[in-house]
């Protein structure tokens, strides 16, 4: 149906674009990370891999492994992401479950309402919370009135009354949850929606209670979907810098993204910034590889059983 090369030729422009503006761009990061820095603190990239200079890379690694500030930032980021992800799952799974399995005639409407936050500008959503949590804002007042502020103060999650936007770690985590949970709910929904109702009915038929059927049939079957959603959300969350910036103006809540942003866009130390970017990418690569391996193995097991 037309020679092979006509079709391949069609793909060429797109491929060329991605090669230059994605692959080469990333290669450039490597060249800067393994490059040098001139007297004006401007990077001097080394294009030839054979020339690569591991000096700056090593110094960053040294900082990390010898308890420098980078280590703190890395650990803090991981903690934030893990907690935020857990909260996302705790809230998101029941919602996705409801939407997929129990929404009945409301399913369409619920789905639309779940998709809507996707298309609202992320910054607008954060802006909304900044409004609400500012001193005198409706959110601050409600949290105070409901006693939630009191709880947070006493658990040490809030440092001073009404200071929600003053460098609070809890605010950052909750903001991350607010921001990213829609991106988790949809893959969860898709996975739960795909589960065959008949398998659950079979379990009930064999005597399992409703909860037990959930635990032993639905939950395990939804694990691939959970993994997919978690990975899909964790990747951008790790690179987030604007959320802490918006809801907490303090360096106490800096994540890796903030550090990279400071070094690169704000120009202070581009080479270190590039190194951190590489490290972040490596971390994410590990996550992706782990995800791919578990899904492949899960696929094989499912195939063997099926």
């Amino acid at each position: 149906m037309g020679s092979r090369w006509t079709w391949r030729a069609l793909a060429l422009p797109g491929v060329a674009w991605l090669t230059v503006f994605f692959l080469i761009a990333f290669y450039a990061v490597l060249c800067v990370a393994f490059g040098n820095q001139d007297s004006l603190s401007q990077p001097v990239p080394f294009w030839n891999p054979l020339d690569w200079n591991v000096g700056y890379f090593l110094s960053v690694m040294h900082d990390i492994f010898h308890n420098g500030p980078f280590l703190t930032v890395f650990i803090r980021t991981i903690v934030f992401v893990v907690i935020a992800m857990a909260l996302c799952l705790v809230v998101g799974y029941p919602v996705a479950y409801f939407a997929a399995r129990h929404a009945g005639r409301w399913k369409g409407l619920v789905l639309v309402l779940l998709i809507v936050p996707f298309w609202i500008n992320y910054l607008m959503r954060m802006l909304a919370w900044i409004n609400l949590l500012s001193p005198g804002g409706w959110g601050t007042r409600i949290l105070h009135g409901l006693g939630i502020e009191w709880i947070f103060l006493h658990l040490g999650l809030l440092s001073n009354p009404g200071g929600w936007l003053d460098g609070q770690q809890s605010t950052v985590i909750l903001a991350l949850v607010y921001g990213y949970i829609p991106f988790l709910i949809l893959p969860l929904f898709a996975a739960l929606d795909r589960i065959d109702q008949r398998q659950i009915e079979a379990a009930r038929d064999l005597g399992a209670s409703s909860f037990s059927a959930f635990l032993r049939v639905t939950l395990p079957l939804s694990v691939p979907g959970i993994l997919a959603g978690v990975v899909l959300v964790a990747l951008p969350m790790f690179g987030d810098y604007y959320t802490p910036d918006l809801v907490s103006a303090s360096t106490k809540t800096n994540m890796i993204g903030n550090q990279i942003d400071e070094f690169t866009r704000q120009g202070s130390e581009k080479v270190s910034g590039a190194v951190l970017t590489i490290l972040l990418s490596l971390l994410l690569l590990v996550l992706m590889a782990y995800y791919l391996r578990t899904t492949r193995r899960a696929g094989q097991e499912a195939g063997a059983e099926g």
Partner: protein, 292 residues
């Protein structure tokens, strides 16, 4: 029965669907949408406060000073955002459609690699892309510089993958049969594409254009990283910069306008999609099951 007992039994209904799931979902949806609704509400506030309601007014949208319509900064940001969005669609859709077609029909080595490379931007955090493109435009092509050109390129680079994925999905469901039928009836390969494949692909192309548009409008990181001087500020960047200051509700108004544009585009595309695909989307095999 007292109200409390009634409520208790309603909650504990063993045969019905779990009520608490419904409650959680409703609460979540409210939590998800209400803050934004409030922000939109205050765009219509009569007065400078963003936390105290002072009456209804359009002043922040159309008022003589400081409104979206008349404030040069807000205007500029809105115009620039829309400009970038249009450029993004004009570039990413053709690139994406051709890439999807080429990738789908590519038989042989290389397709797997290209497929992976195409998918990578979807899972790459924007900051990584931002840093990479920053370095590309400053150090690899020194003199290229940042600004509108760079922003457009950055946006196209990540929306491209969305277009490819959407178009390819549709390609797969279309299958090779229609083109084979066209060839069988005498159509040379170019006509197979023009008379059969592209019309069938149109709904997906429209949908992906709308998605590219919306993604561009809402984009922040890459756009910020590649911005040059103040004239390259977009709505997202303005929101970011002003959020913690003491902005007027004009900011809310700007965000609302941007939101309305996004949803209008998506809504329009959705209806276009339904209209085109509705008359042609039915699978022939499905209909064949419906007998005389």
């Amino acid at each position: 029965m007292s109200v409390f007992r009634k409520a208790f039994y309603w909650l504990r209904n063993p045969w019905g669907k779990p009520r608490w799931l419904a409650i959680i979902t409703i609460l979540y949806i409210l939590w998800s949408i209400v803050p934004v609704a409030i922000a939109i509400l205050f765009a219509f506030n009569h007065g400078r406060s963003r936390t105290t309601w002072q009456g209804f007014s359009f002043e922040w949208f159309t008022g003589p000073t400081g409104s979206v319509l008349h404030d040069p900064d807000l205007q500029g940001a809105l115009k620039h955002t829309l400009f970038l969005a249009v450029i993004c669609v004009l570039l990413s859709v053709p690139l994406g459609v051709t890439l999807a077609l080429g990738l789908q029909r590519w038989r042989g080595p290389g397709s797997g690699t290209i497929n992976t490379v195409m998918l990578l931007p979807l899972v790459t955090p924007e900051i990584v892309m931002g840093v990479a493109l920053l370095i590309l435009f400053l150090d690899v092509f020194p003199g290229f510089g940042l600004g509108t050109r760079a922003q457009a390129i950055g946006q196209v680079t990540f929306t491209l993958s969305y277009v490819v994925v959407m178009v390819r999905g549709r390609l797969v469901s279309i299958g090779p049969e229609y083109e084979e039928a066209a060839a069988d009836l005498g159509a040379p390969p170019r006509d197979q594409l023009r008379r059969v494949l592209l019309p069938l692909l149109m709904p997906a192309i429209i949908a992906s254009a709308a998605v590219a548009f919306a993604l561009s409008i809402d984009d922040f990181v890459v756009t910020q990283y590649l911005s040059g001087d103040a004239s390259t500020t977009t709505v997202s960047m303005l929101l970011y910069a002003s959020a913690r200051g003491a902005p007027t509700p004009a900011l809310n108004a700007l965000a609302t306008v941007s939101l309305v544009i996004t949803f209008a585009t998506l809504g329009l595309a959705f209806f276009l999609y339904r209209k085109i695909a509705g008359g042609s989307g039915s699978d022939t095999a499905q209909v064949a099951a419906m007998e005389v």
